[in-house]
């Protein structure tokens, strides 16, 4: 623990950097995926294309992506913006599928009765379909959150700020404590963020609180298997 106490400022600094890089992609991917998911649901032919592109995007390993992005947009190799862009792309790849699945999971009867009640397509989407897709969206964004927070560390090998620097620095100096600190902090951030998302979900979707244990179990599993 000696190392930790001697380097509290630096650790705090890296934690803040980590959050600054990891949070925007989580929010951005959620927002950008909404129109994509809607397209995929609304136009079945577009669905295949969007989902294939998404899975191709997801197939690009992070380190190569972090090298390609600066070439494409002309930033420096160690610019944090590269990581933000790369992680947003991964986030979109995951969330586009979740959003499409979520919208598809809405009971057609509910959709039809909403139409019959006289909702316009736009209000029906925001007032009926989007909220009802909520549980699937939540499961998706939880996966995005955890993997984004964890993947942010990869920037460390390129010298990009964040908790990954504790790994590379610790490796060069042979400091087990520094690496352990980094791992623990990443896990803590991921768990805190996950808890925040779950609470947010409960607050925004009070009707899901009564879900039976079986439903909850399935939902958890979906979060695990996607």
């Amino acid at each position: 623990m000696v190392w930790v106490f001697n380097n509290l400022t630096e650790i705090w600094q890296h934690t803040l950097e980590h959050l600054q890089i990891a949070l925007p992609p989580i929010i951005l991917s959620f927002i950008i995926a909404i129109p994509l998911g809607w397209l995929a649901k609304r136009f079945p032919p577009a669905r295949g294309t969007i989902l294939t592109l998404a899975s191709l995007l997801y197939a690009i390993p992070s380190l190569p992506l972090l090298i390609v992005i600066p070439v494409l947009i002309g930033t420096g190799l160690q610019d944090p913006i590269n990581v933000v862009i790369a992680l947003t792309l991964y986030g979109i790849a995951l969330m586009a599928r979740s959003t499409a699945d979520g919208l598809r999971s809405v009971d057609p009867d509910v959709r039809q009765s909403a139409t019959a009640l006289g909702y316009s397509p736009w209000t029906q989407f925001w007032a009926v379909e989007f909220p009802l897709a909520g549980p699937v969206l939540l499961a998706g964004i939880r996966v995005v959150s955890v993997s984004t927070i964890s993947l942010t560390t990869v920037g460390g090998v390129l010298g990009i700020p964040g908790l990954g620097l504790l790994f590379t620095d610790g490796f060069q100096r042979g400091l087990v404590e520094e690496i352990t600190t980094g791992i623990v902090l990443v896990i803590v951030i991921a768990v805190v963020m996950d808890t925040v998302l779950v609470m947010l979900g409960r607050w925004l979707m009070p009707w899901t609180r009564v879900a039976s244990p079986a439903v909850r179990r399935r939902r958890n599993l979906r979060a695990v298997t996607t």
């Binding site: 380190l63 955890v146 964890s150 790994f167 490796f171 690496i179 991921a190 996950d194 979060a223 695990v224």
Partner: protein, 241 residues
């Protein structure tokens, strides 16, 4: 864009093939690491996933193992390397930890997705538990298991680029070497090959996933689709009529 052209040129330069540092050698290493990791992870995860899926006990293990995603693989690999030294061992262990949750979830979900009534009927006609596992649950669960292996394979191939950071070779070698010398074409060349390898794995498993769907289940999906179409046409007719 010139840099991309240079990267591709680097890739096709015959001087970069053969020998310890040849692209071919590094591809071989990369695939070897990935296959070893997947094999070990599968041997661990599949029986455990099947056991949980068949007995319905210990589901919490699946959920907890999903939480392992939060563990940064880079940090874990470096931590292990500091303990066991540089080389193949540290990345293999770290990547197995990375790969197990997906395979475990796939194996478990495959069993869990089998209709309880089907299993009940199999038991009622006199199948032993072992026969239920081998003749009902395994064949019906294969597509989901393949899905798990597919995402595990993708993750491992992608993450194996980090292996060279602790001296284990693989395609990451070109990235790290290029990084030290600011040799962009080399980094890009390495990146392109990794991406191709990842896409190849996706393609391979996409095909496998389709191949292992039992014919009867596929027939059911077709029937469902037709049903869908029929229902839809009925619906639209009702709508207009």
């Amino acid at each position: 864009m010139n840099i991309f052209a240079e990267g591709i040129a680097w890739l096709f330069d015959p001087a970069h093939y053969g020998g310890v540092d040849g692209i071919d050698t590094r591809i071989g290493e990369h695939i070897m690491i990935s296959v070893i990791v997947l094999a070990i992870a599968a041997v661990i995860a599949i029986p455990v996933g099947y056991l949980i899926g068949h007995t319905g006990r210990g589901r919490v293990i699946v959920v907890v193992s999903g939480g392992v995603r939060a563990l940064p693989t880079l940090g874990l690999m470096i931590l292990i390397a500091l303990n066991v030294g540089v080389g193949l061992e540290a990345p293999v262990i770290a990547f197995v930890v990375l790969a197990v949750p997906s395979i475990l979830a796939g194996a478990y979900a495959g069993f869990d997705a089998v209709d309880r009534r089907t299993i009940d009927a199999a038991r009622a006609v006199g199948m032993t538990e072992w026969q239920i596992v081998t003749k009902v649950e395994i064949p019906l669960g294969l597509p989901l298991l393949m899905g798990g292996l597919r995402s595990a394979s993708l993750q491992v191939i992608a993450t194996a680029t980090l292996a060279d950071y602790v001296g284990a070779g693989g395609l990451g070698h070109f990235l790290f070497l290029g990084l030290q010398t600011r040799d962009y074409p080399q980094m890009l060349a390495g990146s392109i090959v990794v991406v191709l390898l990842a896409l190849f794995s996706e393609l391979l498993f996409a095909i496998l996933e389709r191949l292992v769907v039992p014919a009867g289940v596929r027939a059911g999906e077709r029937a469902d689709n037709q049903e869908d179409v029929r229902a839809k046409s009925v619906r639209s007719r009702t709508a207009t009529g």
